[in-house]
């Protein structure tokens, strides 16, 4: 499904941390070894299903030109050509690939940071100030969570082409910095994690509202990491919007570039180069997941709990 399916699940925070890990073997149940083996077998089968395409991608990126479609597709070829392939990848068409990677990074990191900041400010205010129109704003934002980005891509294109901003950096960047899901998550998180006393104490001390926010926002860190991560992945994997908005190849992100290479059907950009490019393009996403893993698994966990 489009990555953008990934309007992540709206969440309720776990205010009372009642979650407990069940012990691996409950004293009350005894499991016979046959069942245990069957379970392991089923789980392993699915693990193979999920891992095989990834394995194929990794193995294929190490094969020499022309080896890709001969011999065993799921094992290494005659010689290990990963380094050559990467060099070819970054030299192809005057080094356009590194340009695409850089574009993706600018859209995803920049968009992720700005959207997280805007969403947490808005969510904080929705949680902590009872201003008129608060529920109307929140309701509208919430409805937008259910409106999938691809359906909005064509309307966005119509508006941006009307204003003449199509085929510019901003055509992709501006839609990337608005995260209704982020507002939803930060409102709920701020309501439960930023105490009212903190705000009142700050006001008594004569601190400005923004100064108080900079203190309160630290308590919202787990929610902010989750918003950033979801937004980063959503922007990095976005394909429809940038392919619609950007005709200029030097502005395109890596997803759009790779699909255009794939459509060349092997010439002049070889399939090996496309496969290597696909593998390299995944590395930043994996790195982001790994580096924020502990925060993120908590955030995602809050996502499904009710």
């Amino acid at each position: 499904m489009t990555t953008t399916l990934q309007t992540p699940a709206p969440t309720e925070p776990v205010v009372t941390a009642t979650r407990r890990r069940r012990p691996r073997t409950s004293p009350l149940t005894t499991v016979n070894p046959a069942t245990r083996l069957l379970v392991l077998l089923v789980m392993s089968l699915f693990a193979v299903y999920f891992l095989v395409p990834v394995w194929w991608l990794v193995v294929s990126a190490t094969k020499g030109q022309g080896e890709l479609f001969s011999g065993n597709g799921f094992w290494f070829g005659g010689h290990f050509a990963l380094v050559d392939n990467v060099q070819t990848l970054f030299r192809a068409q005057g080094g356009i690939y590194s340009r695409w990677l850089l574009n993706s990074l600018m859209y995803a990191v920049g968009g992720g940071i700005v959207s997280t900041l805007l969403a947490s400010m808005c969510g904080y205010a929705l949680a902590k100030f009872s201003f008129p129109g608060r529920e109307a704003v929140f309701g509208t934002v919430l409805a937008a969570v259910l409106l999938p980005a691809p359906v909005l891509a064509i309307p966005l294109y119509l508006v941006f082409s009307y204003t003449g901003t199509v085929n510019t950096f901003w055509a992709v960047f501006i839609p990337s910095i608005v995260s209704p899901f982020g507002v939803y998550l930060s409102r709920i998180y701020a309501a439960s994690s930023v105490p009212d006393q903190l705000i009142e104490a700050g006001r008594l001390d004569g601190a400005g509202e923004f100064r108080i926010f900079t203190i309160g926002v630290r308590l919202m860190a787990p929610a902010m990491v989750t918003i950033f991560l979801f937004q980063f992945v959503a922007i990095w994997t976005n394909f429809l919007l940038p392919s619609l908005m950007l005709a200029d190849t030097s502005l395109q992100p890596v997803t759009v570039g790779l699909v255009s290479w794939r459509e060349l059907q092997g010439y002049p950009i070889s399939y090996t180069t496309v496969v290597t490019g696909a593998l390299v393009s995944v590395i930043p996403v994996v790195a982001m997941f790994l580096s924020l893993q502990s925060f993120w698994s908590k955030g995602l966990a809050t996502g499904a709990v009710k």
Partner: protein
């Protein structure tokens, strides 16, 4: 000063306080969501009329519901809706069924190596939609696929890109890419079930599969509902996979899904019609989401 004035002053003060926090997001939200949505609705009621032989220039005129009448008589667009509904009907239950079973197995006391399985199942989510589709397009390619070759060496000839096979091939990419994500969501909900609940059930003689189906599954209904709604929305907006598949399946029509159909109208400069198609698709998705939420609310009440 009356109580009401004080309250009103208090609310005005709150508004002044909130404004600098809310406005930056709100302005952009209006620009990115409300204006495009409103603009599309307005555009969908207009049409471009060309006078004479098209030499006299074109003018935009009010067309009433003409574009919508056209949408509901457009065989290609209706066909794309049907195709997506078919893919959704086979794919969403299979995916969520697998996700539920895997989540229950990881959660159960029987499974060893749950950390490994969690990572293995979640790995496809790290491969962006288009990249996953790209990888599968190689695995499906009739002459190049290592899978086809493997089968051929056993004397079995398969093709993943015939007209009949395409919906299933696309459904497989979706299942591969999203099952792990749903598994993790459901697993997180399972982890939140208090230990005492399961212990009490075990004391009453309810454990193993019986406990899983009778106690755990009803308790995580909200999480299951969310995965269902988002899967339905996800299928309705299908785009990346079929577009990438076109490289190996030239027989795939360029109006295969509703979004592809709307994009084709766009590329043939039929802007008003593209707007109408987008509005219809958006409305279909909203109605579906509301129906699913309603149905589930009713089943919880009863």
């Amino acid at each position: 000063m009356s109580h009401v004035t004080i309250r009103r002053r208090g609310r005005a003060r709150e508004l002044r306080r909130a404004a600098p926090f809310v406005l930056p997001f709100l302005v952009l939200f209006v620009v990115v969501y409300l204006i495009p949505a409103g603009y599309s609705v307005v555009q969908s009621f207009f049409a471009v009329k060309r006078s004479g032989l098209g030499l006299g220039g074109a003018e935009t005129v009010f067309a009433g519901l003409d574009n919508y009448t056209r949408v509901f008589h457009d065989g290609e667009f209706l066909g794309s809706l049907g195709r997506v509904a078919f893919i959704g009907l086979i794919q969403v239950p299979v995916m969520l069924g697998i996700a539920l079973i895997l989540a229950l197995l990881i959660d159960s006391s029987v499974s060893a190596g749950r950390k490994f399985f969690r990572v293995a199942y979640f790995l496809p989510y790290g491969l962006p939609g288009v990249i996953a589709a790209l990888v599968w397009s190689f695995l499906y390619a009739p002459t190049l696929s290592p899978v086809t070759r493997l089968f051929a060496s056993m004397g079995i000839h398969v093709s993943f890109v015939t007209d009949g096979a395409l919906p299933f091939s696309i459904a497989n990419i979706l299942t591969w890419a999203w099952t792990g994500y749903n598994t993790i969501l459901i697993y997180s909900a399972l982890q939140a079930i208090p230990e005492e609940t399961m212990e009490a059930a075990a004391l009453d003689g309810c454990s193993g599969w019986k406990a899983a189906l009778l106690i755990k599954v009803p308790l995580i209904r909200p999480a299951l509902l969310l995965t269902l709604v988002f899967s339905i929305i996800g299928t309705a907006q299908l785009y990346n996979e079929p577009v990438t598949m076109k490289a190996v399946a030239p027989n795939l029509p360029s109006t295969y899904t509703p979004i592809m159909a709307a994009l084709r109208s766009l590329s043939s400069n039929d802007f008003n019609y593209a707007a109408a198609q987008s509005v219809v698709l958006g409305a279909v998705i909203c109605v579906l989401s509301v129906l699913v939420f309603r149905a589930s609310a009713r089943s919880v009440e009863s």
